[in-house]
C-alpha cells in the first residue's frame, strides 16, 4: 500500500515542529523583552530627537516659540554659505592631519612597543594617560604651555633658544588650526598605539619567520606582513578618524572657539554658534543633518567595500 507520506508524516512532523515553534516564539519574546528597555531609551533619546531635527531643519525655528515651515530654504542657504564651506574645508584639513599624524605615530609606536618586553606596560600606561584626561584639562594644560608670554617659548628663550618666544600659537590665523590639532593629537595618538599594538600581537609570528627566510627586510616585513595582518584594525581607525574629524567640536571650541577670525572654525563649532548664539536652530539642524549625511556616506562606502569582499 502506498502511503501518503505527506499525510502520514504530517502529524509526526507537526508534533515534532510544534514545540520548536513555541520555543522559538518564547525565545523571541524573551529576546524582545530584554531589548525593550534599550529600544525605549533609543526611541526617546535618539529616534525622537532625530525625527525632530529633520523636521526643524525645514523650519525657521529660533529655539523657542513656533516654527514656520520654510521648505528647503535652510539647505539652499547652506550651499551658498561661505562660512560653512570654509568650516568644512577645515574639517577636511583636520581629517587629513588625523589620517596621517596619529595613524603614523600610532603604527610606529605600536611597532616599537611590540619589539620590547621589559617596561612595555609602563609605556602603554604613559601613552594612554592623555586619552583618559578630560578635554578641558588637556586644553588648559596646552594653553598654558603654549602661552606666548608665559609659556614654553619664553622659558626656552631664557636658555638661549629664542625661536618660539612670543609665538602666539592659538592667536595666529596660520597656526591656530594645526596648533589645536596638535593638542588633540597628543590626547588621541596613545589610544591608536594601543589599538595597533593589540592587532600586532595577533599577527602570526611564523609569517615573519617565513618572510625572513624569503629575504624580506624590516620594511618589507612591515608592508607585506604587518599591514595585511592589522588591516581590519587599520580600516577601523581610518573609519573612526574620518567620522570623528567630521564631528570634531570640543578641543576647538574650548581653545579657540573657531578663531581667530574663523581660522579654526569647523562645522561643529559653526553649528553650535548658529543654534545658541544666532538662535537659528532650524538652520543649525540642517547643518547637523548635512554632517550626519557625510558621516553616513563614509559608513556606506565602508559597508560597500566589505560586501565587495574587502577584508576590512
Amino acid at each position: 500500500m502506498e502511503v501518503d507520506r505527506t499525510t502520514a508524516e504530517a502529524p509526526h512532523g507537526a508534533a515534532k515542529r510544534a514545540p520548536g515553534r513555541r520555543l522559538r516564539r518564547k525565545r523571541l519574546i524573551t529576546a524582545w523583552l530584554f531589548m525593550l528597555p534599550l529600544i525605549v531609551v533609543n526611541v526617546l533619546v535618539i529616534l525622537g530627537p532625530s525625527v525632530a531635527t529633520v523636521y526643524f531643519s525645514f523650519t525657521d525655528w529660533s529655539g523657542i516659540g513656533s516654527a514656520d515651515w520654510v521648505g528647503l530654504q535652510n539647505y539652499t542657504e547652506i550651499v551658498a554659505d561661505a562660512d560653512f564651506w570654509l568650516a568644512l574645508m577645515h574639517n577636511l584639513i583636520w581629517t587629513a592631519i588625523f589620517l596621517t599624524v596619529p595613524v603614523g605615530m600610532g603604527l610606529l609606536g605600536a611597532f616599537l612597543l611590540s619589539q620590547i618586553t621589559r617596561f612595555q606596560m609602563v609605556f602603554r600606561v604613559l601613552y594612554f594617560i592623555p586619552y583618559v584626561i578630560a578635554s578641558v584639562v588637556n586644553a588648559a594644560l596646552w594653553q598654558n604651555i603654549l602661552d606666548p608670554t608665559r609659556g614654553i617659548g619664553s622659558v626656552l628663550a631664557t636658555v638661549g633658544i629664542p625661536y618660539l618666544d612670543g609665538v602666539s600659537f592659538f592667536g595666529s590665523e596660520r597656526l591656530a588650526l594645526p596648533a589645536v590639532a596638535f593638542v588633540e593629537n597628543w590626547h588621541w595618538w596613545g589610544f591608536v598605539v594601543l589599538l595597533f599594538l593589540t592587532a600586532l600581537q595577533s599577527v602570526d609570528k611564523e609569517l615573519y619567520e617565513a618572510a625572513k627566510m624569503d629575504g624580506a627586510n624590516r620594511w618589507q616585513q612591515f608592508i607585506n606582513v604587518t599591514i595585511p595582518g592589522i588591516r581590519a584594525t587599520l580600516v577601523f581607525v581610518v573609519l573612526i578618524t574620518i567620522i570623528g574629524s567630521l564631528l570634531v567640536f570640543d578641543y576647538i571650541y574650548i581653545i579657540t572657539q573657531g578663531g581667530p577670525a574663523g581660522a579654526s572654525e569647523v562645522v561643529g563649532t559653526l553649528m553650535y554658534k548658529e543654534a545658541f548664539a544666532r538662535f537659528e536652530a532650524g538652520y543649525a539642524a540642517a547643518m547637523g543633518l548635512g554632517l550626519s549625511f557625510m558621516s553616513g556616506l563614509v559608513i556606506l562606502v565602508f559597508l560597500y567595500l566589505r560586501r565587495r569582499g574587502w577584508e576590512i
Binding site: V45, P49, S62, G63, I64, G65, S66, A134, S135, V136, A139, A140, Q143, D147, P148, T149, R150, G166, S168, F169, F170, G171, S172, E173, F249, D250, Y251, Y253, I254, T256, Q257, G258, G259, P260, A261, G262, A263, Y272, K273, F276, A277, R278, F279
Partner: protein
C-alpha cells in the same frame, strides 16, 4: 552678553556642551519648574563661587522667606554663560523657573514675543517701581507700553590703571584722545604694554572694543540714530572709530601685538596689569569684583577712570550702559505674586541692595539712583565712586550703549565674529560696518532690536 565673560568659563562650556540635553534635563528635573505650587517660587541665579552663593542663601533667601511668610524660595545656581541655553531649553518644555533671568533686553524681547513672560504693571504699581527705579530702567523693560522685565546687574566700561606705575612716571589718566595716545606711546616706549588686552579665553569679548570706540569716538547720539535706523552703521563716523581701534591694535598697544591680542587669556592680562607689565586695561565694571587679587603679589595699587572722549563733541564723562541681566516672571508661574515680590525684594530697596553690592561686588547692581553716601563704609571707596557715578550719569541721560545690551543677537554675534577679521586684515573697517548695517537692518525689520532709550544729547 558679556558680564561674565571676564572669566575662563569657556573651558567649562565645552565639557558642559558635551553633556548636552541630558545634563540640562537632569538640571530641570532637579529644579522643579513653573509647575511648583503652594507658594513656592523658583529662581535660577547666575551667581558664581561658593562665597557669593552662601551669602545669597544666608542674606537674601532666608530673610526674604522670613519677610514673606508662606513663600518658599527655591534657588538654583546656574553657570552664567549657560543660563540662557538652560532657560531656553526649559521654556521649550513649558518648564523653567518662576523668575526668569535673561542676558539682556534683546533676549527678553524674544521671550515676550513668544508670550512666555507675565505682565508686571500691576506689581509695578503695587510696589512703586516707577518711583524707585531709574527711569530708563523701567523704560527698557516696557514692550508696547507693558512692563515685562526689570534690568538688573548694571555694568559699564571703565579704564583701569596701575596707579603705582602712573605715579612713578608722573602720569595721569588721559582726558582726551591726544592724552591717551601720548600715554600709550610713553608706556610702550618704556616696554610697558599700554592696554592689557586679549580675547584668548573668550573671543566674544572683542565686542568690548567696538562698544568703547563707537561710544567714545562716534558718540552716543550717533549710536542712538543708528540703533533707531536714522543713519546707517556704514556712516564714516562708525567706520573711523573701527579704523582707530584697528590702528591701535596693529601698533601693539592692545595686548602687545595683534596675535597676542587673540591669544592672551584674562588671568594673564590681569596679572600684567597687576604687576605693572601693562599700564591700563579697558574692561567692564565687573572687573571690580576681583581686581584686587591681581595686585596682591606686586603690592601696587589700582584705580579706575572714565574712558576719555576720542573726538570733540563726545561727552567727557560718558558711561556706556550694560545690562548684565533682566528679571521677569514666567507666564506659567503658579505664584506670580510671590515671584514679583522676590523681584521687588531683590531690586527695589536701596539700603538692602547697597549692602549686598558691598558684600559681593558687581553681582547685585540694581537700577536705583544711588549716591556714594548710600553705600556702607565697608565698601571700597573706588567701587562706591564707580557705582554712584554710573547711577547719576545714567539718571541724567549721560549714557552710551553696549553691544551685548542694545544690539539684537545676530548683529551682536556679527560684531564678535567679523571684528576679528578687521584686525587680521581679512576685511576692511568699511566692509565690516557695511556688513553690520546689512545684518542690523534685517533684524530691525524683524522687530528684533530692543527698546533704545534716548541719551540726554549734547
Amino acid at each position: 552678553m558679556h558680564a561674565k565673560i571676564s572669566r575662563r568659563q569657556f573651558l567649562e562650556k565645552g565639557g558642559r556642551a558635551a553633556l548636552g540635553v541630558g545634563f540640562a534635563g537632569s538640571l530641570l528635573a532637579g529644579c522643579g519648574g513653573g509647575g511648583s505650587g503652594g507658594g513656592q517660587v523658583t529662581y535660577w541665579s547666575n551667581l558664581e563661587g561658593s562665597g557669593p552663593q552662601a551669602y545669597f542663601k544666608k542674606s537674601i533667601e532666608k530673610p526674604f522667606e522670613k519677610a514673606n511668610k508662606g513663600t518658599d524660595l527655591k534657588v538654583t545656581f546656574q553657570p552664567p554663560d549657560e543660563m540662557d541655553r538652560l532657560v531656553r531649553t526649559a521654556l521649550q518644555g513649558s518648564e523653567g523657573p518662576d523668575i526668569i533671568m535673561t542676558p539682556g533686553p534683546a533676549y527678553a524681547q524674544e521671550y515676550i514675543d513668544a508670550n512666555l513672560f507675565a505682565e508686571l504693571d500691576e506689581y509695578s504699581k503695587e510696589y512703586g517701581w516707577d518711583d524707585m527705579l531709574l527711569g530708563w530702567a523701567i523704560d527698557l523693560g516696557r514692550y508696547e507700553d507693558k512692563l515685562y522685565a526689570i534690568p538688573y546687574q548694571l555694568q559699564t566700561m571703565l579704564l583701569y590703571y596701575n596707579k603705582t606705575v602712573f605715579e612713578d612716571k608722573g602720569m595721569l589718566p588721559p582726558k582726551d584722545r591726544d592724552e591717551l595716545e601720548a600715554m600709550a606711546e610713553e608706556l610702550q616706549g618704556q616696554g610697558i604694554t599700554p592696554f592689557a588686552a586679549g580675547i584668548g579665553d573668550d573671543p566674544a569679548a572683542i565686542e568690548w572694543y567696538p562698544t568703547v570706540f563707537w561710544n567714545h569716538y562716534s558718540g552716543p547720539d550717533a549710536l542712538y540714530q543708528a540703533l533707531t535706523g536714522e543713519i546707517p552703521f556704514s556712516d564714516p563716523v562708525f567706520v573711523d572709530a573701527i579704523e582707530l581701534f584697528n590702528n591701535y591694535v596693529q601698533k601693539g598697544w592692545f595686548g602687545g601685538s595683534q596675535e597676542k591680542f587673540f591669544s592672551n587669556g584674562f588671568d594673564a592680562l590681569h596679572a600684567d596689569l597687576g604687576d605693572g607689565k601693562a599700564g591700563t586695561n579697558v574692561e567692564g565694571s565687573w572687573f571690580l569684583s576681583n581686581i584686587e587679587d591681581f595686585f596682591k603679589e606686586s603690592g601696587d595699587t589700582w584705580d579706575w577712570a572714565p574712558l576719555p572722549p576720542l573726538r570733540s563733541g563726545v561727552p567727557a564723562e560718558l558711561y556706556e550702559l550694560g545690562i548684565g541681566s533682566t528679571l521677569s516672571v514666567n507666564a506659567s508661574a503658579e505664584d506670580t505674586e510671590g515671584a514679583a515680590a522676590f523681584i521687588d525684594y531683590l531690586v527695589a530697596d536701596k539700603k538692602r541692595a547697597a549692602e549686598w553690592m558691598a558684600a559681593v561686588p558687581s553681582a547685585f547692581n540694581a537700577p536705583l539712583p544711588f549716591t556714594e553716601s548710600d553705600f556702607p563704609s565697608s565698601m571700597d571707596e573706588r567701587v562706591a565712586r564707580q557705582l554712584s557715578a554710573l547711577s547719576q550719569a545714567t539718571n541724567e541721560g549721560n549714557f552710551g550703549y553696549t553691544a551685548w545690551t542694545f544690539w539684537p543677537a545676530k548683529s551682536d554675534l556679527y560684531i564678535q565674529e567679523e571684528m576679528q577679521k578687521v584686525l587680521t586684515g581679512d576685511i576692511t573697517a568699511a566692509e565690516f560696518c557695511e556688513g553690520l548695517d546689512e545684518e542690523f537692518t534685517k533684524e530691525r525689520k524683524e522687530g528684533a532690536v530692543p527698546k533704545i532709550i534716548k541719551p540726554a544729547g549734547p
